[in-house]
């Protein structure tokens, strides 16, 4: 049984388009995703692709419109508040900016102590000991107990946020752009820490990022999202070596490599991401796709399996031989 299974998840937001009219923006559009225990799934995409809405729905921070989120065999969407609260012991999230995600007036001891206070009976000395244990796991020490977030550097603050997420040894940790606000040298420290913690505690990560290089460093499997849909889903290494979906190819090509010898590829996308309010007909990607044909404008392609990987493209089979060269 997978740890987490998302089935046909849909989230629509009402958007008022005038004084009396409103339309629905489909931020997450029938997303299916499975996360096995011990594995790291990466979700990548540009702004507006729905990756953040997806994790907010599956942690039930916001209520999805329809679909199922099965976590350890229970549909989270069907749970009442007390059962949901109990279930939340096993899930945690680390946000992009630790200065925003750590309560500004609380000291580190209270920040990391909070989940323990909420879900365990630890108090007093035992609580502090456990807090220190978690601080040490993320490479900090008891010296930091009485500091507030703003007295810490960005890297230290993000370590505190990770320690807070880790405190109850949750089964699933959602990492929402955990290094995007950090400098390169500090990002490397945090990525190394995440790898170390995963090995040490057998953690399962759901890693959200716009940065492909960062995602591939950590993820076993990667889902690429575009305008609310998953357009490609497969093993990280294979996907990186040879993308199946044209959008994945474009993303890979647009990511500037820190190596002047690797020249910018010719697959450069024109135009920008269309509005969720007026998504293109058929395949959402067709206005920007160099291979688009009439069928792509008319008909929405389904995700299909090819070479052990899911991709949402009508002409996948036709394009595959060409991709091999």
């Amino acid at each position: 049984m997978p740890l987490l299974e998302v089935r046909s998840l849909v989230k629509q937001f009402p958007v008022s388009t005038g004084l009396f009219s409103r339309r629905w923006a489909q931020a997450v559009d029938h997303v299916d995703l499975t996360v096995n225990a011990g594995e790291t799934i990466g979700v990548v995409g540009e702004s507006g692709c729905g990756k953040t809405t997806l994790v907010r729905c599956l942690l039930r921070i916001i209520e999805p419109t329809s679909g199922q989120v099965i976590f350890e065999g229970d549909d989270l969407l069907g749970l009442d508040q007390p059962s949901l609260r109990a279930k939340r012991r096993d899930m945690a999230i680390v946000y992009q900016n630790p200065y925003l995600s750590l309560s500004p007036r609380l000291a580190v001891r209270d920040l990391i102590g909070e989940p323990l206070l909420t879900h365990t009976s630890l108090r007093g000395r035992a609580l502090i000991d456990r807090v220190v244990e978690n601080l040490e796991a993320v490479g900090l020490s008891a010296d930091h107990l009485n500091k507030r977030a703003r007295e810490l550097s960005g890297g230290q603050a993000q370590r505190v946020a990770i320690a807070r997420a880790l405190a109850l040894r949750p089964k699933l940790i959602v990492l929402d752009e955990p290094t995007s606000a950090l400098d390169v040298s500090v990002q490397a420290q945090v990525l190394n820490l995440l790898v170390k913690l995963r090995a040490e505690f057998g953690l399962t990560y759901l890693f959200i990022s716009h940065n492909l290089d960062v995602v591939q460093h950590l993820a076993d499997r990667i889902a690429v999202m575009y305008l609310g849909r998953i357009v490609e889903f497969g093993e990280a290494e294979k996907l990186f070596r040879r993308a199946h979906h044209p959008y994945t190819m474009a993303l890979l090509a647009s990511t500037p490599e820190p190596d002047p010898d690797i020249k910018e590829s010719s697959v450069a996308l024109e135009g920008s991401v269309p509005s969720l309010l007026a998504p293109p007909s058929g395949c959402h990607f067709h206005p920007r796709c160099p291979w688009a044909q009439d069928r792509c404008r008319a008909e929405s392609p389904a995700l299909r399996v090819e070479e052990g990987r899911l991709a949402r493209c009508h002409f996948l089979v036709e394009r595959l031989p060409a991709l091999k060269n």
Partner: protein
């Protein structure tokens, strides 16, 4: 410039409002004035040899004595030393100001926090009640309460506080509504922390600085409103003195016995101005 300010501000933000106020001469000055008034009121019996007169005991011999070395503020129509009257009147007036603001904050803050955090119909009900309370003119309400329960210090304070708390509800609600969406609150919610704890630990501490600013600014106005009620005879009853009531009694004898209204009036003026200046400085330091 905003870029630099943001980048720069994050590094060297002095940690607290008091730390910033220390560099503001006007703030220091107004704080000293406020402190002097409070200390003078608190230690009134030690600052005058005529404490009994201050509390209301007549001394007909000295009736309307003009300011002199003996009576630096002069004496009133019952011969009581006005310096002592003003000192003791400060006790009532300042207490009125602090009590009103304290009660208003005490009622307004939790209501605002609950309204902002809960949203939905809870928010709707609290805010409509707030609107209704705001619609009462303080003086009119005070007159009504005084008519119903009789004029007294407590009733005046209740009347003012009842029209004052809605401002705090609005301020706190506005803060909480924006704070509620912040990742640190969301993170606590995902962790399964209950609503009460979220409000007390995560929302209120971060919503309080505008409340402190408003409270400082309001102390001046509350003292002024309290004085106005006493002036109308709806507050403290003689012989206990109050600045507003002293001005009210003294105005009959103006301008011949000018000192009777002038010195209590100056006290009201000084207190209101000092609290307003201090409030402004706190507000500046907070932004």
């Amino acid at each position: 410039m905003t870029i630099l300010a943001r980048w720069f501000g994050s590094r060297f933000a002095p940690d607290s409002i008091p730390a910033r106020l220390r560099h503001d001469p006007l703030a220091i000055f107004s704080f000293l004035v406020v402190l002097t008034l409070i200390l003078a009121a608190a230690f009134a019996p030690l600052l005058t040899s005529r404490a009994a007169e201050g509390l209301g005991e007549p001394n007909p011999v000295e009736k309307f004595a003009p300011p002199s070395a003996e009576h630096i503020f002069g004496a009133d129509h019952l011969g009581r030393d006005l310096y002592a009257r003003v000192l003791f009147g400060g006790r009532t007036s300042l207490a009125m100001g602090f009590l009103v603001v304290f009660v208003a904050v005490l009622i307004g803050t939790p209501l605002g926090a609950v309204a902002g955090y809960a949203g939905g119909w809870v928010d709707e009900i609290i805010m409509r009640v707030t609107d209704i309370a705001l619609a009462f003119p303080p003086l009119l309400l005070a007159i009504t309460i005084a008519a119903a329960l009789g004029p007294s210090f407590t009733n005046a304070a209740i009347a003012i506080a009842l029209t004052w708390w809605p401002w705090y509800t609005r301020i706190v609600r506005a803060q909480v509504v924006t704070l509620r969406e912040r990742p640190f609150v969301e993170s606590a919610r995902i962790m399964g922390v209950n609503g009460f704890t979220i409000i007390v630990r995560h929302l209120l501490p971060n919503a309080l600085s505008p409340v402190i600013v408003q409270a400082t600014l309001d102390l001046g106005s509350a003292i002024l409103t309290g004085a106005a009620l006493s002036f109308l005879g709806l507050g403290v009853q003689p012989p206990t003195p109050d600045w507003g009531q002293l001005v009210s009694t003294g105005r009959v004898y103006f301008p011949d016995r000018w000192w009777y209204v002038t010195f209590p009036g100056l006290a009201i003026f000084a207190a209101t101005l000092a609290f307003n200046l201090l409030g402004d400085s706190v507000q500046d330091a907070n932004t």
